[in-house]
């Protein structure tokens, strides 16, 4: 925070991704800095989830490279890849908790796989992580016994299990009611404040974007790439691109709401 030049955590260089023959995104380049709340936004079907899947290694890029902490992820061998995977957590759009395991087992599996902690230690950490997301006492429940919001929170606890440096979110607040979605936002801020985690968030929710984002990139499906990059309020006010202005000014209420200081907005990281 104090240093003048922000530390680059993720660097995406000239990335192209798609499925088989169809190219969804091309020539995508951007970087994410340490402790940043970085948003990927854009209309439905513009390839936000595809970009995310490419960045976390679920989809092989057609071209280009993703690098974490200066180490290429795309070109990594199995061991390096596992080391990089250890540094990030992912919260999936539909939570993706392992349905045959209890919440405690869900949260402790990453610890089991990547650490040599004893069973007792793992249990202790699990309890702590679940408490952190407000789910203490639900250790023995199965994912099918939870509500949507509780599942999201449990999935966040799982994503945070290894104290990752980066957490990826695919639409953290879709399908949640406004209050729960607000709580989710608070939780995200709180995690960033306490653990200093870098977050990459795919979202539609304007209120979340204005409340949380330090920087956003806007994707477009016609251009198949980034059409704008910057702080959301600046973009909303000054962007010359009508698509960006339309997207960010859809809802007058939410842009007004951001003028309220009630939304905790920490200092921007860079500059």
């Amino acid at each position: 925070m104090k240093s003048d030049t922000p530390k680059t955590v993720i660097e995406v260089k000239n990335l192209a991704c798609g499925y088989g023959e169809t190219v969804v995104l091309q020539k995508v380049s951007f970087s994410v800095h340490s402790r940043e709340l970085f948003f990927v936004i854009g209309g439905s079907g513009c390839g936000k989830s595809t970009l995310l899947r490419c960045m976390i290694g679920l989809l092989k890029p057609l071209k280009g490279d993703v690098a974490y902490f200066g180490k290429s992820f795309t070109a990594a061998d199995a061991v390096q890849r596992r080391d990089i995977l250890k540094t990030f957590g992912v919260l999936y759009q539909n939570s993706a908790l392992w349905s045959s395991m209890t919440l405690a087992e869900n949260v402790s599996l990453p610890l089991e796989e990547h650490t040599s902690l004893t069973r007792e230690d793992r249990l202790e950490i699990t309890t702590l992580k679940l408490a952190q997301v407000g789910l203490s006492g639900s250790e023995e429940l199965y994912p099918s016994e939870l509500s949507g919001g509780m599942k999201k929170r449990a999935a966040l606890a799982r994503a945070l299990a290894l104290d990752p440096a980066i957490v990826f979110f695919d639409e953290p607040s879709t399908g949640l009611d406004p209050i729960t979605s607000r709580e989710m936002d608070q939780l995200i801020l709180q995690v960033r404040e306490t653990l200093g985690t870098t977050m990459v968030i795919v979202s539609h929710q304007l209120s979340s974007i204005f409340r949380l984002a330090d920087r956003v990139i806007v994707l477009d499906h016609k251009t198949k790439g980034i059409i704008a990059e910057g702080a959301p309020r600046e973009l909303a006010a000054t962007s010359t691109d009508p698509r960006v202005r339309d997207f960010l000014n859809q809802d007058e209420d939410s842009s007004k709401r951001t003028k309220h200081p009630s939304a905790v907005k920490p200092d921007p990281i860079s500059k």
Binding site: K86, F88, V90, Y92, A96, W98, S99, S100, H114, R158
Partner: protein
């Protein structure tokens, strides 16, 4: 409308008045009176006999005792409007309720519904080509999956503590519990059927006792392992595909991969080992039940005492026969496990995909079982076992 009147009286709230349509002429205008309740669930009048009226220059629809109405009435009016537009007549609905008019304006200009597009029917040869391509790609996937699993097992052999033994035990238990009742019934009945078939032939020569030889060998060498394998393919194999398919759809497998955990190591290997180890046990059990089935028929129909039957079975069925059957069943188990896990992990990300994966797992499993059986038959024949 007579059909309506014959219906039994419903509760008062549900009772509806019949929809009514009256037409009359006033000057050059055709007056259409709609009344009663127009419900989707009730028969309603149609335009038949009204449209086609040539004399009137315009048509006016007015309500008369109009009760409840829904889309039926809107649709009815749309038809009338369309006909009027086509034959250049004015269509007046000003007297109708405001909300009905609003609805009518909303749907104004909808075109005739297009006939549903006919599904593309491929030629038989085209379809056969597609199937061949699919089978070829399935075969390739299977080969690479076998490779992955082999590597996984080699890793696990080096680090046995990391293998998910608990999952393996759990799956073995599941496999045993779900298959046992069906294997019992089917194997016993297969023994009974074989014994009947043999008895018809052998009785003619007064050689009924040889039923024991025939049933014993057929069951132990072929039918026992085969029946057990087919049943496990339909139960446990399909279960694997459904489980893993669901996990794929719910991004659970993705969540494992981004954790740096291989889904093959984590999910497939314990299941593969479980079903491979369980299959010979079930096959042995099926053997016993099959022989019992033959014994039952012999004792009740052929008057061969159970003890004599047992002695004859022991004399004809050698240790080698039993062992070859059980060795085969090990491979059947592997085939069922591979088919189930592979189809589940290659499942398409939709609910329909899970169904397709499940049935594909059963088909692939049974096919692999039969292929393996044919292969073993040839090998044993060459080796003269």
């Amino acid at each position: 409308m007579t059909a309506r009147q014959q219906l039994p009286e419903a509760g008062t709230e549900l009772r509806t008045a019949t929809a009514k349509l009256e037409t009359g002429q006033s000057g050059s205008e055709c007056l259409v009176k709609v009344g009663g309740d127009w419900r989707l669930s009730e028969p309603v009048p149609s335009w038949t006999g009204v449209l086609g009226e040539k004399t009137a220059t315009s048509m006016r629809v007015v309500p008369e005792g109009l009760g409840k109405w829904d889309t039926t009435l809107v649709l009815f009016l749309v038809h009338g409007q369309a006909w009027c537009a086509k034959s250049k007549k004015d269509f007046h609905v000003e007297a109708l309720p405001k909300n009905l008019q609003a609805l009518l304006r909303q749907v104004a200009g909808i075109s005739e519904p297009k006939p549903m597009a006919k599904t593309d029917v491929k030629s038989t040869w085209g379809l056969a080509g597609d199937m061949a391509k699919m089978w070829a790609s399935h075969a390739m996937e299977m080969v690479s999956f076998i490779g992955e699993c082999t590597l996984g097992f080699m890793d696990a052999a080096k680090k046995p503590r990391q293998f998910r033994w608990m999952d393996c035990l759990f799956e073995m238990q599941q496999c045993w519990a779900t298959s046992l009742p069906i294997v019992s019934v089917v194997s016993f009945l297969v023994g009974v059927i074989l014994a009947f078939q043999a008895a018809i032939q052998l009785r003619q020569f007064g050689a009924a006792i040889f039923v024991a030889d025939l049933v014993g060998l057929a069951v132990v060498r072929e039918m026992g392992p085969m029946m057990a394998a087919v049943i496990v393919a339909g139960g446990t194999g399909a279960g694997f595909a459904a489980q893993l398919g669901n996990m794929k759809v719910g991004e659970e497998i993705d969540a494992l991969e981004t954790l740096g955990v291989s889904a093959v190591d984590f999910l497939a290997l314990p299941r593969l080992l479980a079903v491979t180890l369980m299959m010979p046990v079930l096959a042995a059990y099926a053997n016993v039940l099959g022989v019992l089935g033959g014994m039952f028929v012999s004792a009740t129909m052929l008057d061969i005492p159970a003890a004599a039957y047992w002695i004859e079975t022991q004399a004809s069925v050698g240790v080698l026969d039993v062992t070859t059957g059980l060795i085969k069943s090990l491979f059947f188990g592997l085939a069922v496990g591979l088919a189930g896990c592979l189809r589940g992990m290659k499942c398409e990300r939709s609910a329909a995909g899970v169904g397709a994966a499940t049935s594909s797992a059963v088909v692939t499993g049974v096919m692999l079982i039969i292929l393996a059986d044919a292969l073993f038959g040839t090998i044993f024949n060459v080796l003269r076992i």
